[in-house]
Symmetry: C2
């Protein structure tokens, strides 16, 4: 008798960001250049000062403390002091294997199997994977494109909450929408958690990426909510070092920290070489971040203008992160994204985008939307826009859809 895998295993969602990878690989084998707008893998160099730390690798690459080395924790604490003016103790910062592990710890420490966690949809698609792994259900609150994906009214949250709701996840700046919530919105989320005894899991991995002078408000900086705030963070995007796999969980709630530390002890320690590299971040001046943000703002402008000019495409100007969700004149964005890889090329290139249904928990939503990441240099993004425009036209013809009329073009905000 061959055993059957668990329901949990069977129901694990495939990543909408990665599941088309076999089609992309096949396109590359055919000699087609694939422009990756599907994944938030920045093309900027990981800072030399961080890579240089690897010359100091010790002769024995040993376990570190489960919460990270004191040096790594120190570098993280100094960052929060500089970036947010928040002073943290070493027993409030837990180094993790990427932001991914921090979110997993946060879900498991707040919710039991069968419990629910509120999340604004569209959401970072891997929340669904982490929830499935933890046996937790995501309860969606739907944000709308027309509102620039800002937070839905409180009535919607009250409606989504049940007796088994344990936490609310707020990703700010938002992946996948690029929305930066206002101070009032972050406060409203925290107050909702206070009123209902929920943890606020604040995913702030895109903190550095906010445009037009915006300053994202960290949940860590809200006075009076320390006991319910759990901030998860990552060095992946901040330092263009996604493969390093280093993140952290920050909370001033002692019980919560203790539970996460015990989970961390189970898996022994976070990656050691990444912790070593993290020490180099101390040597980066404020110019580093400013330069990176200026570069991404330029890319955002380029892609927003280019995509906005394509007939039938609707998007609002993204405020932060390096993603946006665009509405397209298609009925099945999964089919469209697959078709771009399998059946289309323009000047020897095609584009890979992430179909949006995987970013929603509510069935049926996102079928005319895709997530676009702008992590390529300007000339590649310009090419990507041209390829996308031609691809959309050719797809509509191939699927027998009428040409998009001028009347169907929604004006960007």
């Amino acid at each position: 008798m061959t055993p059957e895998i668990s329901t949990r295993g069977r129901q694990m969602p495939a990543s909408p960001i990665r599941k088309l990878t076999p089609l992309a690989d096949a396109a590359k084998k055919r000699g087609v250049r694939v422009l990756h707008l599907n994944i938030g893998q920045p093309d900027l160099e990981t800072p030399q000062a961080m890579r240089d730390q690897l010359t100091k690798v010790p002769a024995v690459v040993a376990y570190s403390p489960s919460q990270g080395t004191a040096e790594c924790q120190g570098a993280l604490r100094r960052y929060y002091q500089r970036a947010l003016g928040v002073c943290l103790g070493n027993d409030e910062v837990l180094a993790t294997t990427g932001g991914s592990e921090a979110i997993q710890f946060a879900l498991m420490a707040s919710a039991n199997p069968g419990d629910q966690v509120l999340v604004v949809e569209p959401y970072y698609t891997n929340y669904a994977a982490f929830a499935a792994m933890a046996g937790v259900t995501l309860s969606p609150i739907t944000a709308k494109a027309e509102d620039g994906f800002h937070l839905p009214p409180r009535e919607d949250w009250e409606r989504a909450k049940t007796a088994r709701t344990r936490a609310l996840i707020l990703c700010n700046p938002n992946n996948p929408t690029g929305t930066v919530y206002t101070r009032e919105e972050v406060m409203a989320a925290a107050q909702f958690c206070r009123d209902h005894g929920l943890f606020l899991i604040a995913d702030e991995v895109y903190r550095e990426f906010a445009y037009d002078g915006r300053q994202p408000v960290s949940a860590l900086s809200l006075a009076g909510y320390e006991d319910l705030t759990v901030m998860v963070d990552s060095l992946s995007k901040r330092y263009s070092a996604c493969g390093m796999r280093l993140g952290c969980l920050v909370t001033r709630n002692r019980d919560f920290y203790g539970a996460c530390l015990r989970m961390a002890q189970g898996r022994l320690s976070p990656p050691g070489l990444a912790q070593l590299m993290s020490l180099g971040a101390d040597e980066l001046g404020p110019d580093y971040s400013a330069g990176v943000v200026a570069e991404y703002q330029k890319r955002r402008d380029l892609l927003y203008r280019g995509m906005g000019e394509i007939p039938g495409v609707f998007l609002r100007k993204p405020e932060g992160a390096f993603y946006f969700v665009a509405r397209l004149p298609v009925k099945d964005s999964e089919d469209f994204a697959a078709w771009l890889l399998s059946d289309f090329e323009h000047q020897g290139a095609t584009v890979m985008v992430a179909p949006a249904p995987g970013f929603y928990a509510t069935p049926g939503l996102g079928q005319d939307e895709v997530r676009i990441a702008y992590v390529l240099k300007a000339e590649d993004l310009e090419l990507a826009v041209r390829v996308f425009r031609h691809g959309l036209e050719a797809y509509r013809q191939a699927r027998g859809l009428a040409p998009v009329g001028v009347e169907a073009v929604a004006a960007p905000a």
Copy 2:
């Protein structure tokens, strides 16, 4: 209203290997040298050929494929070909963040929250943490010191199995007991799984460490059990590279692999620098492993002889890994281990050991046992034995226990 952490979070066990760390830190602050027999952190150098790979770190430390880079998967496959004569495809080997993540994936893909997994106790203590995280219950089958901790009879397994049992974990060579199971024992475990439709989760991270000419039998090499075998492995011990955090999960069951791959996609990728380092393992000749094993066998001999001569201490000769479980003339090994760190020193040194209760699921077991790791060089182990002998005597005096009489000394096997 301050939210409460989850029952899962509250019930997360503290690692018996690490929870005494604050006492050890305090001892070090007092100037006492702490000899670490508590943790399997080898003192051998990580091979230069692996560390040298870090000079090739790319300018952009990017995400890798979720299953690991093709190069890393290739290095792993070549290892299994060399070590076991087992030929694997890239879609059967999944690189993970240490063996820890491989075990977590295996538990979640085989069991739903509320399900049960059989395990031979004493077991690797962090199984309890991973089970708690996954919402899974460990059902213990007790192995006995008198049998050298070899597998209990099949009746015991049948008794422990319920309708909710989904898998059996077998750690071979065993942590914490140092037992190397015979081919018949591994076959019996696989057949038990076959008869009851269970997955066999074979934890083989100590494969290289077997003494007196023993060759541990890999579950991967059993013909006819491919569909139910899930092997979890780690490079940590094999290459003295615990801090790297690289392991893998191997299975020929497509559904199982698919579920684990989707979990892996959720967390994006395994640590990139560790994957890079793993490529250096290809350059190590067979001498590398032989040299390491000879060194550990020497340490095993030294510690076995030394500990066996201490009145009242009982242990069998360990067959593999670099641990053993010793029975001591104490009533509370937690108290004894804490006392060694807080109240004792001999010639400026003390020893840290792991109390055994955390290695059992059955309450009350292990209270007169500790796990000892022999990962220090010979002269430090000799000192550790002397310190331990004096510590045990002094502890018994301090707690008002009578001196151990000659009649109470159980002869080692």
